[in-house]
């Protein structure tokens, strides 16, 4: 099934179809950036213009937000 852009979701790398876990939950690996020879390691709560909603969400965004709330 073709994945489509979904304007309703909060846009984060951590719920984008191109992400994989890298340093859970704060940083993810972006396949799209890797294929473009860009630094593939990005913040879970970042996003770029190529964001596409992941069909089946994981806990990356939820846990990254929780982590963000915690004092450093």
């Amino acid at each position: 099934m073709k994945k489509t852009k979904n304007a309703d979701s909060e846009k984060f790398c951590g719920n984008c179809t191109s992400h994989n876990a890298y340093e859970y939950p704060t940083r993810v690996f972006c396949t799209r950036r890797f294929l473009k020879n860009k630094n593939p390691i990005v913040q879970t709560l970042w996003h770029c213009e190529d964001w596409i909603k992941n069909a089946q969400e994981c806990y990356c965004v939820r846990d990254a937000k929780e982590k963000q709330k915690q004092p450093a």
């Binding site: 994989n20 876990a21 859970y24 690996f29 890797f34 294929l35 020879n37 089946q56 994981c58 806990y59």
Partner: protein, 328 residues
């Protein structure tokens, strides 16, 4: 069968032999056959590895067996070598459980192989590191097609972990064939490597190049023995090489939980293998219906005990024509 006190592994296996029945008898026979393979200086011992044995912890056993010449040639799924490489690069396999909520594991980016857990992070680190290695191998070989054996040695050369199967094979110059190499993370990493290079000057692994190499090894050996853990493509690769030489395999141990009735190769009986000419009619052979994670370590421990600490098996003879092959 008597167990009246502390027993060594081989003493227990001897008790299995005293029974001679069911799985105990078959495992005891498997140890006898493996011992005969290792005492036969003219025999090349092939190990066929299928199923997730490396993630379950068989990695060091296979690496040590290659270093100590208890295995001459390894034929394996790509996946087992992927998991070997993950550990060589600092990743880990964790003891988990089979009765878990797998959707929850998915949400935490954790993969499951029965009761073994593997974090996705370790796969991603593998992808990144191996993409670099593929670039380096492609640049060094500049358009030369590599067999999966050459590819395995190129990887082994670059891995420093002494427990690694690929590293051990490289150091021992023991051939490792991965006939279905693309059907593993190695294949997906090729896609990453090639895409980043716009499919130009990429690593070239040629599955057909394996065929001549493995047939040549079989042909130049006086006798061939195979130990199959699981079955699948590795078993067929070894057997087909023996068929191509028209000589057939001399010793065979197959450890599998699969059944013959479905017609699949993994469960096919060794008598069926004889019908193809892949195994000699008079071959020393047994099928052991058992979990390879239990049976193979017992086999190795038993046979090492029988051979004694001072037994040193010489490396498989590298004939001139095989040297020519590996230098082509």
């Amino acid at each position: 069968m008597r167990v009246n006190g502390p027993l060594t592994v081989d003493e227990l296996v001897q008790q299995f032999g005293n029974s001679g029945s069911f799985g105990a008898g078959r495992l005891s026979t498997a140890c006898d056959i493996y011992e005969r393979m290792l005492r036969d200086d003219e025999c090349t011992v092939f190990l066929g590895l299928a199923g997730a044995l490396v993630p379950a912890g068989m990695r060091s056993l296979v690496a040590d067996s290659l270093r100590e010449n208890r295995i001459d040639v390894l034929v394996t799924t790509g996946a087992n070598m992927v998991h070997d490489t993950i550990e060589a690069l600092g990743g880990h396999h964790y003891k988990g459980h089979w009765a878990v909520d797998d959707l929850l594991l998915y949400k935490y980016h954790t993969y499951r192989i029965y009761d073994v857990f593997l974090p996705e992070e370790d796969f991603i680190r593998l992808d990144m590191k191996l993409t670099e290695m593929y670039d380096e191998i492609a640049d060094e070989n500049r358009g030369k097609r590599l067999s999966s054996r050459e590819f395995a040695w190129e990887l082994g050369k670059r891995l420093k972990d002494p427990q690694s199967v690929l590293r051990a094979a490289y150091e021992a110059q023991a051939p490792v064939f991965m006939p279905a190499v693309r059907d593993s993370e190695f294949g997906y990493i090729y896609n990453l490597h090639a895409s980043r290079r716009n499919f130009k000057n990429t690593l070239l692994v040629d599955a057909f190049k394996d065929v001549n190499e493995i047939i040549r090894i079989c042909r130049e050996s006086e006798r061939n023995g195979m130990i199959i853990l699981g079955g699948g493509v590795p078993r067929n690769t070894i057997q087909s090489a023996a068929l191509a030489t028209k000589s057939g395999i001399d010793y065979a141990v197959v450890v599998t939980m699969d059944r013959a009735e479905t017609g699949g190769l993994s469960g096919s009986t060794l008598e069926e293998t004889v019908s193809w000419g892949k195994l000699k009619g008079a071959a020393d052979k047994v099928m052991v219906p058992a979990d390879a994670m239990i049976a193979f370590p017992l086999m190795v421990a038993s046979v090492v005990e029988r051979l004694g600490k001072n037994h040193k098996r010489a490396p498989r003879k590298k004939t001139e024509s095989f040297r020519e092959t590996i230098n082509t």
